[in-house]
Symmetry: C2
Subunit: 365 residues, 2 copies
C-alpha cells in the first residue's frame, strides 16, 4: 500500500497519514511548493528541503514544452533539478482548457502574450504553440508518457473541466469525458514503474455530478484522487468547501486526496477538516514576489513605506532565514531596489509559514 492512515480526528474528517513514494515519504496533511519549471522560484532544492517541504509539484505543460525528452535523457526530473524527494506532476491540461481567453492567457504566461488557440475533442486537446507555431496534441496517453519521461512520483491523469461550474449540461459532459479519459490514462499507465497515478474528480457545484465523478473514478482503482475545478478562477472559499464535501464521501477512505491549486491558510485548514490530505498552490511563492508577507492570522505588503524604519523581523515567532537574520526595513529596502534577494527571503518566509501551518495542523489532529 502506498498510503497509510496513522490517525483520524475524532471531530472532523481530518486524518494524519503517510504516502510512500519511490523518493521518500510524504507526511500528510502536506503542502507542496510549486516548482513549475523544475525549480521553486528563486530557491535551491537544499533551501526548499530546509524549509521543511517533503514534496514539490511541477507542471507537466511547461516541462513538456521545455523538453521532457531532454529531462528523460538527464535521468529524470529529480536528477535534472537535484531534488531527491518526492515530486508530483499535474496532467498538463490545466493551462489549455476552455476557460475563456482571458483566463487561458493569464495562466499560460507565454512570453509574447499571444492567446493560445486550443481545440478540445474526444481525442484530447490540440493547440498551437504561439511562440514557434508548432502544433501539439495533449491526449490522456500523451500526458502519461510525458510524466513517465519526467519520472515524477505522483502523476495525474488528464481531465476536462469548465469554468462554468453552475452550468449542469456543460459540467456533466466534462465529468463523463473525464471518466473516459481516466480509463484511457489508466490503461496507458505502465504500472511497471514506481509511479503513482491519481485521477481528478470534477462535477462543478452539483452534488450528483461530484458523486458520479468520484464513484466512476474510484472504480478504476487509482492510487489517489484529486479534487479539481475548485481553484480555476473566482470560486469562493465556500464553493471550494462545498465541492470537497460533495466529493470526499464517495472516495475510497484508504486513498490520499489532493485538492488542486488550493489555497490560502484558511482554505487549507478547512479542507483538511473535510478530509483532504495534500495541497499545491502558488500563493506563498507568487505572492512573495509581489511583496506579500504571511504572518499568523494576517498578511502585509513589505513595500509599504511604513516599513522603512521598522527594524523588527517579519515575524518574531518564525525561524526562517529572513526572520532570524534581517529586518523589515532591510527587506523593504531590497524590494524598493528590486533586489532578487528580497524575493528569495520573502519566498523562504512564506513557504516556512505554510510549513509551520502544516505542523500546527498535524498537532491538532
Amino acid at each position: 500500500m502506498s498510503f497509510e492512515i496513522l490517525k483520524k480526528s475524532s471531530v472532523s474528517r481530518a486524518r494524519l497519514g503517510v504516502i510512500h513514494t519511490a523518493h521518500g515519504d510524504i507526511h500528510t496533511p502536506a503542502f507542496m511548493p510549486i516548482g513549475t519549471y523544475g525549480a521553486v522560484r528563486s530557491l535551491s532544492p537544499e533551501e526548499v528541503r530546509g524549509l521543511g517541504a517533503e514534496v514539490i509539484l511541477s507542471n507537466t505543460y511547461h516541462l513538456w514544452l521545455a523538453g521532457d525528452e531532454i529531462i528523460k535523457k538527464a535521468g529524470g526530473l529529480h536528477k535534472f533539478m537535484n531534488w531527491d524527494g518526492p515530486i508530483m506532476t499535474d496532467s498538463g491540461g490545466y493551462q489549455l482548457f476552455s476557460l475563456g481567453e482571458k483566463i487561458i492567457n493569464s495562466k499560460i504566461q507565454m512570453p509574447n502574450d499571444k492567446p493560445i488557440q486550443s481545440k478540445i475533442t474526444e481525442d484530447g486537446v490540440a493547440f498551437r504553440d504561439s511562440i514557434v507555431g508548432d502544433e501539439h496534441l495533449l491526449t490522456p496517453e500523451k500526458s502519461v508518457e510525458i510524466q513517465h519521461n519526467l519520472g515524477s512520483d505522483i502523476t495525474v491523469v488528464l481531465d476536462e473541466f469548465t469554468g462554468d461550474i453552475n452550468n449542469y449540461e456543460k459540467v456533466k459532459a466534462t465529468v463523463e469525458r473525464t471518466t473516459r479519459w481516466a480509463q484511457r490514462a489508466r490503461k496507458a499507465f505502465s504500472g511497471g514503474t514506481a509511479q503513482l497515478q491519481y485521477a481528478v474528480i470534477q462535477g462543478g457545484m452539483f452534488p450528483d455530478l461530484r458523486k458520479q465523478s468520484a464513484m466512476e473514478l474510484s472504480q478504476l482503482d487509482f492510487d489517489g484522487y484529486c479534487i479539481g475545478g475548485v481553484a480555476v478562477g473566482g470560486e469562493s472559499s465556500q464553493e471550494q468547501y462545498k465541492a470537497v464535501e460533495m466529493s470526499v464521501p464517495y472516495l475510497p477512505e484508504d486513498k490520499p486526496r489532493h485538492l488542486l491549486g488550493v489555497g490560502t491558510p484558511d482554505q487549507i485548514v478547512e479542507a483538511v477538516k473535510r478530509g483532504i490530505d495534500t495541497f499545491d498552490c502558488v500563493i506563498p511563492t507568487r505572492e512573495a514576489r509581489h511583496g506579500k508577507v504571511y504572518v499568523s492570522n494576517s498578511s502585509f505588503d513589505i513595500s509599504h513605506s511604513s516599513f522603512r524604519e521598522d527594524f523588527r523581523p517579519l515575524d518574531a515567532s518564525c525561524d526562517c532565514l529572513a526572520c532570524t537574520h534581517y529586518t523589515r526595513a532591510y527587506l523593504h529596502h531590497l524590494f524598493k531596489a528590486k533586489e532578487i534577494l528580497g524575493i528569495r527571503l520573502l519566498t523562504m518566509h512564506n513557504l516556512r509559514f505554510y510549513m509551520r501551518l502544516m505542523q500546527v495542523i498535524h498537532l491538532s489532529i
Copy 2:
C-alpha cells in the same frame, strides 16, 4: 598600520599583503564583489562568504538616495545587510560625472530612464533627482558624511574625472580639483571612527598628470589609493595598464592600491603585476545575469542552444554549488525559463571563478 606587505614578487611589482579593518582582514590581492544596494545581486551574505569573498563594495550614491540615515539608524550597513566582513564604499560621485549624457544614463539606471541633470562647481556636484525632483548636492564633505552613516570600513573621497582622457587641459583641471576636494575630505574625515580613507588618482593618459595627482594625494597621507578614470567607458586594456604604470611608482609603497571598476580576469592579472592590491567590478555578477559563464581562459553563453543536452558541469574543475550539483543542460533550461535560480547559480559560479583566480594569483607571487 592598517596594511602589511607579506611578500613581494621578484619578477614584478606584485605583492601579497593584508589590510586590517574593523571588520576583519582582507588578504591581497583581493577582488571585491559588488553589492550596490547592500546586497550582492541574488546572493545572501552567507553565500558570498562561502564563495571565498572577504570584502564587498557597495555604492554610496545608491545607498544615499535609498536612505543612508535609515541605515545609520539600523546600526550601519554591516548590520543592515547582515554582512560582518569588511565593506568598501565608493564616493558616490561616479554616477554623476560629466561623461556625456549617454554614459551617465547607462550608469545611473534610474527607473524612469530620465537623464540626471547635474552641475559641477568647486563646491561639489549638484543634481536633481529625476524621480521625485529633489535637489541634491554631493560635496567632498557630504560624501564623507554619507559613508560615515553607512559605517563602511574603507571609504573613498570624492574625485572629479572626465571621460575625455586625452584632453590635457580638461584632465589637468580634474586632477587639480581632485586634490583640492581630497584636502577637504581629509579634513572632514573624523579619524575617530575605525574607518579607512582612500584618495583617487586621476590624470588620464598623461604621465605628468598621473605623477602630479599621485604625489599631491600621497602628501595627504591617506590609508590607501585608488587609481581612477580607467574603467569609465571604452578604455582599452592597454590604456588601463599604462594608467597604472604611470601612477604606481609615485604612490607610497606601504599603502594599499585599489583599481576602480576593473576588470576581466586578464586585466586583473596584469594589474596585479603592476602593483595593484584590490579590485572591484560588476563583471562576474552582471554578466552572470546575462548568461555569461567564466571558465579557465574562456567564457560561454549558457543560453546557447548547444547546451540543451549538455549534461556536463559548467566547469569540471570548479567546486561551486552550480558545478557540483547541476548540469549545463539544467542551467540552460533555467535561463530559457527565466528562473531566478539560474541567475543565482551563474552568479555563484562566476564569483567563485574570480575567487579561485585570486587564489592562483596568490600562489604565483
